[in-house]
């Protein structure tokens, strides 16, 4: 008998939820027709800003799954000032991420010292063949357009907020 108030209350909870869904709409979205707003810092896919990459291999070495493949070579670039020596720069030949192996830990994005890797909230890149989940550097570069701006730091922060290179 002591259970009766709780039993009635339980019925009230489910009924008020019906009323809420009918009047205010559901919490869910009808996925193929509408997409949910991504949460800030959603981990969908990794985007590569190729100009910033120096093929330093930090991401490939820190990757727990060894799913990043990098090949590069050195090139001579014109000097910054007239009369200077030509600079030697690292050029990317290959930058692949195998999303069949990736576990979305985000360590590569964290360790990149040159701001070349970013999280994008896009998730619609499933493939019929698993080999097609290997994204090369042009495919990874295309994701850059979907990378959202960083959230501003909280008020009074000493550090200047980061900007996404476009």
């Amino acid at each position: 008998m002591a259970l009766v108030p709780g039993v009635i209350k339980g019925l009230g909870v489910t009924f008020s939820e019906i009323v809420k869904t009918v009047t205010k709409g559901p919490e869910t979205v009808q996925y193929p027709h509408a997409k949910e707003d991504p949460v800030p810092r959603a981990r969908g896919v990794i985007a590569l800003h190729e100009d910033n990459c120096t093929a330093c291999m930090l991401c490939a070495r820190e990757c727990p799954d060894w799913c990043i493949y990098i090949e590069g070579h050195k090139e001579l670039a014109p000097p910054r000032r007239a009369g200077g020596k030509p600079r030697s720069v690292n050029k990317l030949d290959r930058f692949d991420i195998d999303f069949g192996l990736c576990m979305y830990c985000g360590i590569c994005v964290e360790v990149c010292p040159f701001e070349a890797l970013f999280w994008s909230p896009e998730f619609e890149y499933s493939e019929p063949k698993i080999a097609d989940l290997l994204h090369d550097k042009s495919r990874l570069g295309q994701w850059m357009t979907t990378v959202p701006e960083f959230e501003p730091y909280e008020a009074g922060a000493q550090v200047k907020g980061k900007k996404v290179p476009r």
Binding site: V7, G10, L11, V13, T14, F15, E17, I18, K20, T21, V22, P26, E27, T28, Q30
Partner: protein, 351 residues
């Protein structure tokens, strides 16, 4: 058929008509309530929309589900008793179709007018236990066997409160005939005031409560779904079934829910009748031919209300434990029903 009809139908014509109508009376409400409550209402309770793609607002989702089940392979387990395994869903379905036989939908719109309608309904409703036991035993699976035995124990335990709850109504109406019970509710008076008739829910509210709880258990709906407890027994006696035979169990479960709701509305809510003050207002007789058309609509409305209660409870509560279930039936519901019968008998004699 009533003698007021201008056209006389031959026996075989009425038989075919009744056969078709039996399928309509079982399958249309089952489909309707499954869509309305199982697909939509539970989704709203969980703050989602449910099926939206098949047809407008997903109204043809059930068609898609039936098509899916019909395509699937009908798997027999290697060591199953093939005949019993194959027959079990039909036994359960037959008890559903036999139940609808006695339900009156209007003064003449009934499949059969039995003098012992209540008795027959309660007797054939327990036929499904045999089908469930057959399914559990013939599947040659320990989950199915445990589920079947639990179902048998539960259905037998809750048969008693179901019967005893109805006894109060029968005492008050003075008849086992469902048409007479409806008639008693139309002509009844509450302390000399007859505008509402006397739906037995007013005097037999304890019986109504016990009946609804027992129906919930008879249907093995949550919170009484130990026979198909998916976290313990995979799917109970339905574990080994697939394709069309699983669909038959599915239909039987939800169609039986509707027919018990029909029965409850006949026994407690006045059945196909509308309150006498409405018929007085419209200037029609409570037993006139037009009630054969209005009656089914009234019954459907009451059925939808009662099935709403069934599914509301189903999607609100967690599952009982097996011993709690038995204790609830034997130590609470049955004594309560017996007290109700004693009180009903006392007042019947006193007034």
């Amino acid at each position: 058929m009533g003698n007021t009809l201008a056209v006389e139908f031959a026996y075989w014509q009425t038989t075919i008509f009744k056969l078709v109508m039996a399928f309509v009376a079982v399958l249309i409400p089952a489909g309707g309530t499954v869509y309305l409550y199982l697909f939509k209402m539970v989704s709203f309770m969980q703050s989602r929309l449910g099926p939206m793609e098949a047809g407008p607002y997903g109204s043809l989702q059930l068609m898609a589900e039936v098509g899916k089940f019909a395509q699937k392979e009908d798997i027999f387990p290697a060591r199953a008793d093939r005949f019993v395994f194959a027959a079990a869903p039909y036994v359960v379905l037959v008890s559903t179709f036999l139940l609808v036989l006695v339900v009156p939908f209007g003064p003449d719109a009934a499949f059969a007018n039995f003098d012992v309608g209540v008795f027959l309904a309660l007797a054939v409703s327990s036929l499904s236990v045999i089908g469930i036991l057959m399914a559990g035993w013939a599947s040659a699976s320990k989950y199915s066997l445990l589920g079947g035995l639990r179902a048998a124990g539960q259905l037998i335990a809750y048969e008693l409160p179901l019967v005893l709850a109805v006894v109060g109504v029968v005492i008050q109406a003075g008849s086992l005939n469902l048409q007479r019970i409806v008639q008693a509710q139309i002509e009844g008076e509450i302390f000399g005031w007859g505008a509402l008739g006397n739906p037995f829910v007013i005097t037999q509210f304890i019986g109504f409560f016990i009946f609804l709880v027992a129906v919930q258990a008879e249907l093995a709906q949550v919170p009484f779904d130990m026979p198909i407890a998916e976290s313990e027994l995979v799917s109970g006696y339905m574990t080994e079934y697939s394709g069309f035979r699983f669909l038959l169990f599915f239909i039987a479960e939800f169609a039986t829910a509707n027919i018990f709701a029909f029965l409850a509305s006949v026994l407690f809510l006045g059945g196909w009748s509308v309150p006498p003050f409405v018929t007085d207002l419209l200037g029609i007789d409570s037993y006139s031919n037009v009630m054969n058309v209005i009656g089914p609509i009234v019954m459907a409305t009451k059925m939808l209300l009662l099935t709403f209660l069934i599914y509301w409870v189903r999607f609100t509560y967690p599952r009982f434990r097996e011993d709690q279930l038995q204790r609830f039936a034997w130590k609470f519901l049955i004594p309560l029903a017996l007290v109700n019968i004693a009180l009903t008998g006392f007042f019947k004699v006193a007034f």
